[in-house]
Amino acid sequence: MDAVVAQIQDLFEGQIDFDGQRLAEQLYTAILSISSAIALVVGYMQQDIFLSMWIGLAGTLLAMLLVVPPWPVFNQHPQPWLGSKVSLPRGGIVVSGGKGR
């Protein structure tokens, strides 16, 4: 049961690694900026403000589709975490010399 819940949680959280986060941010910034610029130019050319609106909304939907789900491309550089206790040096990592040590 816990495993199923964890799977669902993973699915909804959709975590990505640090490089993926940078990529996602660049992606939505670029897509939204470019689609807004296109919306303005095309709407002005065609003299149709609805066209601007639709292009802007389409760009937003595209950006959300590309950025929100945890696509594999966002998980290409998993962070090398420190290993388990077994592989740690003896005595563990001393973060600060607390009392009692």
Binding site: S35, Y44, L51
Partner: protein
């Protein structure tokens, strides 16, 4: 950015910034006269017939007031006001008359007629797209009223904003806070308009920038020749008026509340 909800929020947040910036640019573009407008809005109005009659504000009112009905001719070419950022245009005719009996004093402005001219819908407007891709519901819903529906859809490609009215009856009969409007002099009719855009600021015909009104040059002013309100119709022969004579408010002493 690390989880899906966070990315959704970030994307939506940047979308609102982009949408606001886009709207701002469009609003500025539709106010500055960069592609200079080739024609300016113009209107002319003339008085046809003025009648002043006694009446009541509503059926049960004991108050009797004078109401003026002003028929007028109106010719206006406001088609240059319809750009890609025009949602609708409000056009109204006011009767302006001085408060004083001698044709002097402050000006009272009362609307006698108005209309809303919606912009023609473009191929990508909401109605047209809906009609194009989801036409099923429309047809079954109003098979008998389809032709009347089509008329209100304004899918025609005629440029709106051209008005030509002959001997038009006013929508609103006007009275004065004093209850007396007959025999006032030096009144004029005036055509005014108010442009309502999709995004941006409202544009009124009274320009704030001298000769320029937003994107447009101020056109010919829609103002009629001065006219006088005639005496009350049937003053001497109205027997009903005699019967209710005591209840008729004196000129200038009636309550300033108009209930129309």
């Amino acid at each position: 950015m690390h989880n899906a909800l966070n990315r959704l929020q970030a994307t939506f947040g940047f979308f609102t910034s982009c949408a606001f910036t886009l709207a701002l640019i469009i609003a500025v573009l539709s106010l500055i006269p960069i592609p200079a407008s080739t024609s300016s809005p113009s209107a002319s109005v003339a008085v046809r017939n003025v009648q002043v009659v006694k009446g009541r504000p509503h059926y049960y009112s004991p108050k009797r007031e004078e109401y003026a009905q002003i028929r007028f001719d109106l010719n206006a070419d406001l088609s240059s006001l319809f750009t890609w950022n025009t949602k609708q245009l409000f056009v109204y005719v006011t009767a302006n008359y001085p408060n004083g009996k001698d044709g002097q004093g402050d000006l009272s402005e009362t609307v006698i007629w108005d209309t809303i001219i919606p912009a023609t819908s473009t191929p990508y407007s909401w109605q047209n797209l809906k009609q194009k891709y989801f036409p099923e519901k429309k047809k079954s819903n109003s098979k008998s009223r389809r032709d009347s529906n089509a008329k209100t859809k304004t899918t025609d490609l005629v440029k709106p904003g051209v008005l030509s009215l002959k001997n038009q009856k006013p929508k609103y009969q006007i009275t004065d806070p004093s209850g007396v409007i007959s025999e006032r002099s030096n009144a004029t009719l005036q055509v005014s308009w108010n442009l309502q855009p999709w995004v941006g600021s409202l544009v009124w015909d009274q320009g704030y920038l001298g000769q320029r009104i937003g994107k447009w040059n101020a056109g010919k002013a829609g103002r009629s020749e001065p006219f006088d309100f005639p005496p009350l119709k049937g003053t001497k022969t109205d027997t009903v008026k005699d019967k209710e004579g005591p209840r008729t408010p004196e000129a200038g002493s009636a309550s300033p509340v108009i209930e129309i």
